[in-house]
């Protein structure tokens, strides 16, 4: 409140980096670079997002090629190497059965990507469908659907996941479905808010004026414009789902032994923590690194694709 005449806020809205560049460099004339080029240029300027994306890509690589990259068979037991300290031959050490921890982590990547990934994917598909329909049709139907989703949202997600899994029994398919059920409401809300924003835009009205069908308007006019925020939301959901799947594994509601599940590894390592902390530490750190890098990437995506700040 020092400079009421020239507040920083009003100044920033008047002349900001992006707006300024746009003012000074009016489009038209020469074709401007394609949007993905712009995204890439912006991404390069954000080191945190770039690092996050690179780490994520490394994990993605491991998820696909893990079994071939891993130095040992993930379930090969070696009695001599029980609880071996990290060394050249076992960089992350070995567990109570002498299994190489690095290999178990590498091979376990695929599992967590598949469970979290498919869960997120289903959530995105169903959530988008609900959000589109509910937002465009509006009225009482919209109200009812949204309140139902609110009910789902009101439970703590881990608790809800445990209850659901305990009742249907742990299996890979069930984990995927539980992840999907948990994240549908969030995706639906994001899509719905986009639809509400877009459905009264002039280009949608122009489509109504030329007599387009509702499905055309939804899938050709509105959906393509909702993709950037949807992508950001999906990547955020994915980073949460990794954590969720790992938590479920730790609680014994996830993949059953001897699968190389990260959460399961932590659970099994609890008893040896004082003897051989690395058995617990490395899987835990891996989870942390993957979750952090994924959210760095999704934050980066948001800044790159929705500059000026998409709400939530």
């Amino acid at each position: 409140m020092v400079e009421p005449n020239i507040t920083d806020e009003s100044f920033d809205t008047a002349i900001m980096d992006e707006t300024m560049a746009k003012e000074l460099l009016p489009p038209g004339g020469a074709a401007r670079p394609k949007s993905w080029r712009i995204y890439w240029r912006r991404l390069k300027k954000r080191p945190a997002a770039l690092v996050g994306t690179i780490i994520f890509c490394i994990f993605l690589f491991l998820a696909v090629f893990g079994p071939w990259v891993a130095p040992y068979d993930y379930q090969a037991q070696n009695a001599k190497a029980r609880l071996a300290t990290p060394s050249v031959s076992h960089p992350f050490g070995a567990d109570q059965f002498g299994r190489d921890i690095l290999s178990r982590i590498i091979v376990g990547t695929r599992n967590i990507f598949l469970l979290g990934g498919f869960g997120t994917l289903i959530a995105v598909i169903i959530g988008t469908a609900i959000g589109l329909a509910s937002g465009y049709i509006g009225g009482t139907g919209d109200e009812v659907v949204m309140r139902l989703l609110d009910v789902l949202l009101s439970f703590p997600s881990l608790l809800l996941a445990m209850v659901l899994l305990a009742s249907v029994g742990p299996s890979n398919l069930n984990i995927v479905l539980v992840v999907a059920v948990l994240y549908i409401p969030m995706v639906a809300r994001v899509v719905r808010s986009m639809v509400l924003d877009l459905k009264n835009k002039e280009f949608v009205e122009a489509a109504r004026v030329r007599g387009e069908k509702r499905s055309y308007i939804l899938f050709r006019e509105i959906l393509p414009n909702s993709l950037p925020p949807l992508l950001v939301e999906a990547s955020m959901r994915f980073s949460y789902s990794i954590f969720l799947v790992a938590s479920l594994g730790y609680l014994g509601l996830g993949v059953q032994p001897p699968s190389p599940d990260w959460g399961l590894q932590i659970n099994e390592a609890r008893n040896f923590f004082t003897l051989a902390p690395w058995v617990l530490l490395f899987p835990a750190c891996t989870i942390a690194v993957l979750v952090v890098s994924t959210s760095l990437m999704s934050d980066g995506l948001r800044q790159v694709m929705l500059p000026g700040g998409g709400r939530n």
Binding site: V2, P26, K201, E202, A206
Partner: protein, 699 residues
Amino acid sequence: MEATIPMQAPPGGAAKAPRPVFEIEGLHIDYTTELGVLHAVRDVSLMVNEHESFGLVGESGSGKSTLAMGSIRYLASNGKVTDGSVRLNGVELLGLPAKELRELWGSRIGVVYQSPLSALNPSIVIGKQLAEVARQHLGMDRSAASTRVIEMLTKVAMPDPEAVMKRYPHQLSGGMLQRCVIAMALMTDPSLLIMDEPTTALDVTTQAVVLDLVADLKREFDSAILYITHDLGVITKICDRVGVMYAGQFMEQAALYELFKRPLHPYTLDLLGCVPHFDPTPQKRSLVTIPGAIPRVDQLPPGCIFAPRCKFVEEACTTARPPLVEVAGAHLSACRRWEVVPPPAEYLRDATEAVRAAQTEAARPGVLVEGDDVQVHFKAPKGVIRAVDGMDLEVRIGETLGVVGESGSGKTTVARAIIGLTPSTGGTITLRGKRLPRSTGRRPRATLKEIQMVFQNPDASLNPTRSVGDAIMRPLSLLGGLDRQRAKERAKELLLAVSLPVSYFERLPHELSGGEKQRVAIARAFAAEPELILCDEPISSLDVSVQGSLMNLLMRLQVEKQTSYVFISHDLSAVQHLSDAIAVVYLGHVMEIGDATRVLTPPFHPYTEALLSAIPLADPDIKQKPIRLGGSVPSAMFVPSGCRFHPRCPRCLGEVCVEQEPPWREGEGDHRIYCHIPLEELARLQAETLVLADQGEGA
């Protein structure tokens, strides 16, 4: 009250030497962006004396805001003043330490922004925000500050200042808020007042009041005013000296009257020609266009920066950049060939052409669309909003009906009712005598095809994810039944028809400028081969030169295709330029309708009269009688009794107007006025409303 705007102040009438307050010399400002360093402002000099206002005009991207803000060193973090000198009362600002500069900003410099709502904190009452300034910078205590606030609010002609002080910003209208912001800026009696498009967001009638106020304050306060605007009409109302900016530098600088009467730079000449001339005759002339677009500041041509678009260019212009030099007394021009620049009247005659001859009364074409007692009422929690409340309109084949009125007059809503986007709730709308279903959903495609729309916001009217070609092809295949190949050919023809290169076919909307987007939107509307196109403020958000070329385009296409338009705008000069018939609407009702010529010559409805005297015309020779409307358009939820205009009407007769609905008074032809005052009486009262100088000229 009688605001004699001192634009007629003769040059050299030097009774006392004016004191320079704000001086800029050789200023350079750079921005560091993704694309490297941009020289946004280059070698700019200007001087403002006390009691004087300097108008900075230019199109978007010309660097006028950067210049104004950069000169007081208020730049975004990536901006930097690289060279030059700026003096305020003789004190050099550029070397000043940050602390002293901040002190200066608050106390000696006032700034008024375009949007008053975002300049004020919405959660603090007006009085407190204003008092804060007085306490902070004048060191006043609470009671002295509040006395000062009342004094300032009185000075800006605020009715009932004490009540206003207790209000929150959202409780005041735009004009009132802008007055508060001006009062706040003047609180410390600053030496320099920077006004950045302060009236652009306001309605014409409010704008006129604020402009009068600024003109008054200019004489009362010792401030120098730096006034930024893109509107040449506004400039004529309050500026003494004008600088025309183009791509970061001055093209011309002169006293107001000289700049308008005898511009000595081709760019200024073209700009003046882009603005519709106020001319209430039925003949339609094109406007001057400036080919090409303003160059990017990192891709300036080697010679004169205007050379690629200049009509007086010769070889030598493209090799060396001409400096801004004094070519006549205090008249600066950056043109080598300033001597060959013709007088505006002569240039206008040669550079424009008659698009369409005047239509004779007998040959008026038949009616295409007729609205009879159209109503659009919305249910709101606290009552009924009567957005359109019994409008009668007709659009003739191949003609343009201009609909003009302030915001809140229902002009957009009635257009949306015609096209069916907002279903009407009463009355009938017919197309060639056939009644139209109320909503788009109920209209068959064949009917939908006949009416298309060009929207106001070019950024939202094209789908950002689809190419230009796609956007134009869709109506061709959907409504025109063309196959893909033929639709593609036709779309390319349409691109050419709206003067865009075929290479734009694959482009996405973000690769187009605002004007280009609007051209695509026009092509898309024409693709359906409709009989009627509704243009809802299609040019309002664009630069003057782009506005001019779009108006030319609309006119040319109309003549070629015999399409009818409904042209909606708050800008009466654009409406008069394009329209054959004009409807003046207020609060959901037509006040006056008829042939454009008749609507624009007396007798007028008192509301039309007020609009005419409020529009800033870009011609300092036209004398407008200062008729100012108080207040703002009332809410459509509480429509006043009797004549709905009576609370603001300067010619209100009293009881009759309050109690009885006025009759339609029939004038010549189809001219009708909705007023209690007889036409003869109106004509007698209004003879002086608008006096066009040199009326016989060119005839």
